[in-house]
Symmetry: none
Subunit: 140 residues, 4 copies
């Protein structure tokens, strides 16, 4: 399981972890039935208080994403709440909208915002062709 924590962020660590686990369950990156790290393992991996991880697992279990099997570990639910995928994506779009409005308020132009977006896409390690570039490549 890959989790990335932004320690400086104003978003609480527990939420950062929870939303990333949720996303990976919904996207299938964490396949149904897969075992996730134990509370202690993940706590150590992220250098976070084990209690924090415990709360996150508890919450995600109550939400139907995970299943805790006493003595054997924590697993991605066999039937994760896939119905929530669209809701999560809607929320994603909503947040993207807010963030872009914020960028606009900071005086960033459409072109600058696009540049930042493509940069961020690259950093997120997505290869997919970029419109401008592919256009240039093919037409030239």
């Amino acid at each position: 399981m890959f989790i990335r924590i932004e320690k400086g962020s104003s978003v609480p660590i527990s939420r950062q972890i929870a939303s990333q686990v949720r996303a990976q369950c919904l996207a299938g990156t964490l396949p149904a039935g897969a075992r996730v790290p134990s509370v202690r393992e993940l706590a150590e991996m992220l250098t976070v208080n084990p209690n924090t991880i415990l709360r996150v697992y508890e919450k995600l279990t109550s939400e139907g994403y995970l299943e805790r099997r006493h003595g054997s570990g924590t697993f991605v639910a066999l039937k994760p709440p896939l119905s929530q995928l669209n809701g999560q994506r809607d929320k994603f779009e909503e947040e993207l909208g807010q963030l872009i409005r914020h960028g606009r308020m900071l005086g960033l132009e459409a072109a600058e915002l696009r540049a930042a977006f493509e940069q961020a896409l690259d950093n997120a390690n997505i290869s997919g062709s970029h419109p401008q570039e592919s256009q240039g490549e093919t037409s030239t």
Copy 2:
């Protein structure tokens, strides 16, 4: 002054307001010396408790964005901390990166992310030419 509050958001109202005012001060949308709505006015406009607004104004004053003049109102500081503009933009890019990684985790492809981004740009009322469209323009 234009402020948009997302009441459902997990980001506290006060922070939403604060970051929007900060951005507008830095971008010059709120020019130095301009009077901002009174605590009560803004509270009414946003249907938020006046105390919440007061706290925001207090914080922004301590940060150097605003100036409160007893009995006459609250104003954009004559010398707003413009030096923070770049820091704010860096923070914006950082947040954009986080959000896009989140979208990726939700299984969204680069193309889908781009579509969502352009949609959000449109909604943010930015006309600037879109790559796809510019293609159309050149081809015509």
Copy 3:
């Protein structure tokens, strides 16, 4: 932490508390890193509303005197703004000057002012030798 509130004073409670905490941070009476009472504790100790204490802690945090750690308490900043010590002392002298001019306007003579001053020093629990007394000491 020792705080003394003059409830009858025209100086708001919150400012009285703030200036005393500031002074103790600068003088080292409250050593860097030390834990200060929780919002609720101090509120109870001083029989003041917790919100008032919270505001004070917020302000002092923004000024760099304190650090709040969510869930674990409030602490004297590791690097308190010692640079402000001289400024605070200058302010002290300025206020002393104002007060003494006021005493003069009330018709108090230099001798009376000195008597009041020595009395106040005694009450402030300072042993340091008094001019008059030291005279006695040297003469004995």
Copy 4:
């Protein structure tokens, strides 16, 4: 009438003026029956809003310090509330005590406080002999 305003002070201008006028009435520096400057004159002298002066005069009149005679001006009351002199002096001592405790909290030693006090006395233009100096002079 001599009034000194500290514009940077956190004490409102109106209170600074009021307390100085009160003190001068009680001390007799402003003798009973004496005419004080008109609202406009004083406002101009102190470059303060006339409304502020008006409020001060109103307040002091209601307290018995001044008398306003329509068409001819404002005067020190023929029978100013001298009974308040002791109360004002008590208040002065109380404030002196608070201030000295504050100085102590700032880490100032008794000797430093005394030096500041004598300095302030000098600045307040009081000649009265200083204990230390006079002692030194005579004994040496």
